[in-house]
Symmetry: D2
Subunit: 384 residues, 4 copies
């Protein structure tokens, strides 16, 4: 896509030992377009697992670490040290790890949420600014071409001034008390790893970011009905949230880990004066445009789309793309930003669509407002 990149980016990873899901999804996303070369990693704090994982990723023993601080220091000292690191550990560790790398001048691509408080998030943004390094936050659903096209359509007024938003991210895998059965991925329900919020921080912020990304709307106030559906769970696992946007639009955001039987469950609908757009992650290559005049169009990735959507597309219309390709679009954007800085040139403006620290902080502010409203039995709380 971008012709200015001359060599791949030397890249490291913290967390993401083999067997886990998140690390491998970042690796696939980074590998797809060949712009990142994984050369260093602290893939696990368990030494044996770190070694085994690194070997499987073809990382040399010399650059296999078990401590992220050591890794940051050692890599910063090498002439061929990593230029960027991806952080794919539980939420509560993001701030410390990201700080270590940013402070050593290494670009950071951090899994969401950026941190567990607005304050920590703002601190990371400040450190990135000081270091003049990228701080990416992987709200990766914004990498779907049809989501980028939806954003363009809304901006062009394809459905008129916005009035209503319905967004939901509903999963069912935590409908059973997996954390009480020792399932590792269930750390999302443990405040020690996840921070003060469960489902809202975990996937509610994906929903929040997506609606912000597509609509540009800003929430003025919200009212949240939080529930802990599974007995004994420590964090909220279902959130029904009413939204009022600046300018008068209204919305509902539903985030759930306990919607038994849901697997994808990420759906966004945006209604304006003259029509609406609907997207469902189960069929990510499609975007539905229905207008008040009766028009019902299915728009396809690979078709006649906005430049932003086209640039995020690899295959012709009809050949399905998926989650990894969308994720890879973020990595492509980050690659462009990292390379541009390396080459001392301005990045392709299109690459700035990828979410960064500011988006991460914005999402954390949403989490805090939701928790505040939830504690106040669903009273309206102002955002920001």
């Amino acid at each position: 896509m971008n012709e200015k990149i001359k060599r791949s980016i030397r890249w490291g990873m913290v967390g993401g030992g083999i067997g886990g899901f998140i690390g491998e999804s970042h690796r696939m996303a980074a590998r797809l377009d060949g712009k990142f070369n994984l050369v260093a990693g602290a893939l696990s704090s368990d030494a044996e697992r770190a070694r085994e994982s690194a070997a499987q990723c073809f990382i040399s023993a010399e650059r296999t670490y078990t401590d992220y601080r050591e890794m940051a220091k050692a890599e910063a000292a090498r002439p061929d040290g990593i230029e960027a690191v991806s952080i794919v550990t539980p939420n509560a560790s993001h701030h410390a790890i990201a700080s270590a790398f940013l402070d050593h001048g290494i670009a950071v691509i951090c899994d969401k949420p950026l941190a567990t408080s607005v304050q920590d998030g703002q601190d990371l943004v400040a450190r990135a600014a000081k270091a003049q390094r990228l701080l990416g936050v992987t709200y990766n659903y914004s990498g779907y071409p049809m989501i980028r096209h939806a954003r363009s359509l809304v901006a062009e007024g394809a459905v008129g001034a916005l009035r209503l938003v319905q967004v939901e991210f509903a999963l069912g895998w935590l409908a059973a008390p997996l954390e009480q059965e020792g399932v590792k991925q269930a750390w999302r329900t443990d405040p020690a790893s996840a921070g003060p919020s469960g489902v809202v921080a975990d996937i509610g912020t994906h929903a929040y970011h997506l609606l912000r990304f597509v609509t540009g709307l800003e929430i003025e106030t919200l009212a949240a009905d939080l529930a802990t559906v599974v007995p004994g769970r420590k964090l909220e696992d279902n959130a029904n949230i009413l939204l009022r946007f600046k300018g008068g639009a209204r919305g509902v955001l539903w985030a759930s880990m306990v919607a038994a039987g849901e697997t994808v469950g990420f759906r966004l609908r945006v209604y304006g004066e003259t029509g609406h757009l609907a997207w469902d992650e189960a069929f990510p290559d499609q975007l539905h445009l229905r207008l008040l005049d009766g028009t019902d169009q299915t728009l396809h990735r690979g078709g006649k789309l906005s430049p932003a959507a086209k640039q995020a597309t690899r295959l012709v219309s009809g050949l399905p793309e998926g989650f990894i390709e969308a994720f890879a679009n973020l990595y492509g954007d980050y690659a462009e930003q990292i390379t541009a800085r390396r080459d001392k040139r301005p990045p392709d403006p299109a690459s700035l669509l990828a979410p960064t620290g500011a988006d991460g902080v914005d999402a954390l502010a949403f989490v805090e407002a939701v928790l505040k409203s939830g504690l106040a039995d669903g009273s309206w709380v102002a955002l920001g």
Copy 2:
């Protein structure tokens, strides 16, 4: 279906002049199974339109009326007078009309909502009890076979104890200010015809009844964010409502007249401990059952269904049924009740699924709670 009916029911209608939609949909529903015979009508208060409409319905001139009071009186006096009347006028007139017929001992089938206040609704229930006559309220979506099957599945525990409900009835046809353009059907936005509520009374109560019908859950408290999206409109046209049910389940109900581009837009999802059921009126012959164990089944009308669903089915699996057939199931149930009373025998218990006055009052209580919460800026309000 029911073999005890020896002759069709002599039937009348108030409202429903030709050209309108509601009256003809009742007539098609009543005709489909041949159990009602339309012999009298006050189809319009405009004499010329009443006459023309009646002629097109093959109603004799002698039994064509322009005043419902006159009709009730005259029909009650005839040896071959109508046994039942359907009322398909705007909401605000329901109470007076239904009273007139019930008081003359004529069964009433009333379009929803039953009245414009709980008090008026209760009064009608009392009159029907006194007259010992049927008072049906056409929450007709409960006539869909797959909705009746969903009800059976929930009752059998097919998805476990209920935890979450998502229901929406979103239409777009009033996204433009049609009432300011003189469109007759837009009376739903005029308090003089519609009563104190707009979208909540009009289709929100359909959504409410459907969730009650399928789940049996009772709302404990609700919090409603009501909006009047179209400038100059007199009643709310969008409602985002948080629900808390007795027993702890949570839900969201969305009702909208301004969801531009939506045409059907009636969707119900019910989540239990072990899975969920999903129904969408756009594909009414299907019901989706997805379980925590990964099972994803599409259940089809005409397949192996509960007795209640089978009894509501006319065609083999694969041949599509629709709105009229569902509506006709209510008329079939009412016919059974009317005929059983005529024959002095107990009605088929299955026919008692059809909504009656008590359901109508229940829905009015929901409307009142929603309006109360809306006026209090979305505070939680107890129901009932």
Copy 3:
């Protein structure tokens, strides 16, 4: 729809005893719009079943018959005799029954196929012409509004000159040897009732009529691979047929009774130079229009459609219609033709879309060509 009808049509039926499917589907179709009044019937050749069935249809004992000849004669002699009769018996009896009524001056609506040979079909057409009475043949799928809209779109060139047709009607219910288990409806596999063809006559002709109706294309030659998949079956139960149309277009028609698991399975796709139309009976209210330029539109019943499609529509867009409504459109067309003749006026030209004897003969010619090709191991055979 048509304002010239002053009273309903006196109507009778031969075959269609209760418990069967076909008779009741005709009755529902006829009742839906209130234009036919069932007053006489020979619903079964079994006297007890005939009596019981007639009673359930509110037919008087006096006009309940067990012999169609007697019925034709008696009704023709009454001043209030039936004006039209529907014939819903197995194929092999159609010719004799239809002849009896036509010869007595009574209009005939005959289930498909019209007869079991082209010759018999032509004979009926001649008798109808002589009697100056309607001879309808219920290729009822042509009553779907979106099929009528597809016909209009093709005629307008919406997809350009036609090149390819793919049509299939695949059911699975006879994948098991039901006829060997005594299932009555399996008469379709018995030459004594069905005539010389199994699946081709039963549903293959529906597929044939639909493609003719929508495209107007004429088959020049065809090559048929017929199979009797179920051991011991007497007639073909699967047909894969290659089609070459006059003008050069090509096609495939697949008809099957043994496509296990299929329930609806009626799908039509028509490809022209610039795009295609696709319709699937499972979602009959939709028609998909996809163009070479990437346009992908879903057209909805109730939307902005051709006059022919609008006239065949009862409900607003979004409220689903189905099989019965489509069937009722044929009955509506026949009612208009019968009434126009009664009133000595020309019928509404739109009503002429409903299939008549000529279409029935055309379909029988298709069956004969298919059987001829099948016997010749799939050699190309000219049609007509």
Copy 4:
């Protein structure tokens, strides 16, 4: 997936200059799992384009070639020479290029079809056997997890003994005479590049391989109606083909380049005694299983699938995978086979699902039979 691989495979490519689609799709497939490292290439016969393309792929100038013979020789002579090469040139050049690399002991992964005649294909198989090197042929749709699951289900008898197959691969992009407008990808219609067959060789063989892969059925005879729909085109662009399988099953295969408006259009349905399986590439993560008893299940990638399907899966159920992931499964299988040979161990048996030279020859035999039948006006022709 496979833990025995210690380092990535040194890999080259012939054809696939930037801007084209096929080369980049192979590169993405190979990169996704990080098992191939692209170090050499003759990406174009045009020197400037070859250089530019290689630079963008981070291939060193030293190992950038413009002649495949030179490349085969030079790489075979290097201690760090490529172990495998992918060939992504037009069909007519496959034989010569593949021969050159196999004869130098370099494994070959060849885009389909393997060659332009059965004889050439057999020659390549013989060369691979002699060289003891992999000869892969990228019938890549067999890499979809749900296709592999379908194969397992059929083998387990999930739908009973097979009776009917319906497969189609219909595209519309060549509905216009693009070759006459100088569009490069339209070489598929030019015998000089494509060989003696157009649509059948291009995508018909994909359909053929997929049905063979899933069902294991062998065609006994076939009858093909070939058409050249676009005036002036040199090769057939539409093929309607009747299939008779050994054992008695019947089928239809439709391949088209001129199905205007189709983009994906790859659909397979397999009917057995007790039910059927249906797959549509537009929704590749789903497989539909419908049984005679009314069961209708949607099976999802990531769910409880066969080992072969699980091994081909990267993401949890719900996160969509697509074309590249399926393609990458072939590359993963080939990597396992190449590495196993390198390590002198037997490959994981699961990796043997990936199509090789024998499958390529089988598909060419299909093409030859189709062309023979087509020339004989659709007479039945035996296969093999």
